[in-house]
Amino acid sequence: MRFQLSADQRALRAGVRELLERRFGREALRAAVDTPGRLDRELWRALGDAGFFALRQPEADGGVGLGLPETVLAFEEAGRALLPGPLVATHLAAGTVPGAAGGETVVAAVDGELVEWLDAADVVLGDTGGAAPLRSLDPLTPLHRVPAARDGAATAPLADLLTAAEQLGTAVRVGELAVQHARTREQFGQPIGAFQAVKHLCADLLVRTETARVAVYAAAVTADPADIAAARLLADEAAVHGARDCLQVHGGMGFTWEADVHLHLKRAWVRARRGGGSTESEELLAARLVA
């Protein structure tokens, strides 16, 4: 058993991280916050060129020919970078919607009563009749509301797994931000990270992240719906709870628009409600217990 990243997987993750740091660094992130609703088409095509949407497409069809574990690593990096856009919907549409795999076509999907990125998308899967825009809580995710009727396709296990991977990335990033701040910010004559109360917030953050990480990676290996449901629950918890703890570690600064923490928390909240939120995952796992 080698339940560890292979050298190729490490290289892939490092490559995606490098690409995202170059194309979507902090300045680009804040610029995107200042222009809500605008999707960077150039970046989207660059992602397409790098194979982000075609990772699982067979090489014969012009894809990269890799598997779910590699895809999950790429989505973890996207989550870590807080990359905006309907990444999951477009990735899942590769191979069925022309242009999705290459990043020429932006694909969004109706999910329950909400649609992310409806106006910016070229193709929207699901019934968008009666869609009305919301003033979105997340400045990096425009949202529309649609009348009831749940859309079954949106809750596919694969969408759950990729969402979990993005949430894992968020948990990783807010952990880095919290630790960085705790090491450098001084109060009472020492770095706040020397105080046990702060230390324990950071430790709990890491414990939730690492537990979510193994759940997400294992689900990518097995593709078992129950493993995916478990991964979703733990990754949602790690992202949402982690972002809140990160905000707390930042103190008053964490409550400002200038600090990036709120952007991570808001995105984590938006992702956590996808596919019906935690209820379906918990019910699926409960059903497994008595199967």
Partner: protein, 377 residues
């Protein structure tokens, strides 16, 4: 990333399963929790069976994955717990194997493997629990002996142990992590008084051990004098490595039994309880994956358990308590009947966030050693 085992490992699993299916039905029922001599005999008898079948040294010599398979399969089959052999097999044994002389290995290791001698742990003291290095039990040289005086606490199996892995202070004038020495103390030596300690679960699960000028031969020292802290860290890293594998498997089994019990008594219809059980299933699935991850990492690094053990222990000790709290909701009024299953487990689970380094200490370890946050007071 790969979750499959090699053909050799699968063959080991198959052989072990076959053996367990053959011998387990022949085992008599275990003794009551308070029958210490009975527990000693039962646990050593099981170890002897493992020895005769060639599985005795799986904790020491097998690859981490093989050890994982052993613990997984024995627990799934409902085999006896390591019990009285715990300290010998999982603490003292690996420590002596790693740090002892050839003579010491020859003296102490075979009886542990054959299920002939029981060890207990003399680490904690009334004034030194999580702050283990603050221990005050003194030992001074007198000819070929150390003379030991002081007291130890929370010592499991002390009443029936043959040996004690004992930490003593041999130099009080140096910083507290220095000046500690690791000794193997015979429990029949003069000057040892064992007093059972009643726990909140009502049973005498462990004991206080009082030491009044107990003579321990210098030849029983493992590692150098005053080097006991480093030797101890070797021991503790074993404890935090694969020590909980069997328990995670057991918790997953209990969770399945809880769901079935809830279906039978109608509480399954409560969506809040059902969803809580579902969340616990996610939790224990992840803890199993974390175990596999840590074992893979240990295998890659040559068998040394890493700091990931603290991450695991923090999460697991909490999850175990939540599991048995949920059991109480499934049981309803029966949750207050000590004769019902899971009620005593709920009580004993309370020790998990305290024993082997409290959760607060584990968080400090994670924060300082993994995250690199500054040490504080």
């Amino acid at each position: 990333m790969d979750l499959s085992c090699t053909p050799e490992e699968e063959e080991f699993r198959g052989r072990l399963r076959e053996w367990l299916a053959k011998v387990l039905p022949t085992l008599p029922a275990g003794p009551s929790p308070d029958d210490w001599p009975g527990r000693r005999a039962y646990d050593l008898g099981w170890q002897r069976m493992l020895y005769d079948a060639g599985y005795a040294d799986v904790h020491w010599d097998a690859s981490p994955t093989t050890r994982l398979i052993f613990l997984e399969e024995t627990e799934k089959a409902g085999a006896p717990y390591v019990g009285a052999g715990f300290v010998g097999l999982l603490h003292a044994g690996p420590t002596i194997a790693a740090e002892g002389t050839a003579e010491q290995r020859a003296r102490w290791l075979p009886p542990i493997l054959r299920g002939e001698e029981v060890w207990c742990q003399g680490f904690s003291e009334p004034g030194a629990g999580s702050d283990l290095a603050a221990l005050r039990t003194r030992a001074w040289r007198d000819g070929d002996d150390y003379v030991v005086s002081g007291s130890k606490i929370w010592t499991s199996h002390a009443e029936v142990a043959d040996w004690c892995e004992l930490l003593v202070r041999t130099d009080p004038d140096v910083p507290k992590h220095q000046g500690i020495t690791w000794l193997a103390m015979p429990m029949d030596a003069e000057g040892i008084t064992v007093r059972p300690l009643r726990t909140l679960a009502g049973s005498a699960e462990f004991a206080e051990v009082f030491l009044d000028e107990v003579r321990v031969p210098v030849g029983n020292r493992v590692g150098a004098e005053n080097d006991g802290w480093r030797v101890t860290m070797v021991t503790l890293s074993f404890e935090r490595g694969t020590a909980f594998v069997g328990e995670v498997v057991a918790c997953r089994r209990v969770l399945g039994e809880l769901a079935c019990a809830a279906r039978e008594n109608g509480r399954w219809d409560d969506p809040v309880l059902r969803r809580r059980l579902g969340r616990l299933e996610a939790e224990f699935r992840a803890l199993w994956r974390l175990t596999q991850w840590n074992v893979s990492e240990a295998e890659a690094s040559g068998g040394v358990p890493g700091a990931g053990g603290s991450v695991f222990k923090l999460r697991y000790s909490q999850a175990r308590q939540e599991l048995y709290d949920t059991a109480a909701d499934v049981l309803g009024p029966d949750a207050f009947d000590l004769d019902r299953p899971w009620v005593l487990d709920r009580l004993s689970a309370l020790s998990y966030t305290i024993a082997a380094g409290t959760s607060q200490i584990q968080r400090n370890i994670v924060a300082e050693r993994i995250l690199g946050l500054p040490k504080g007071r």
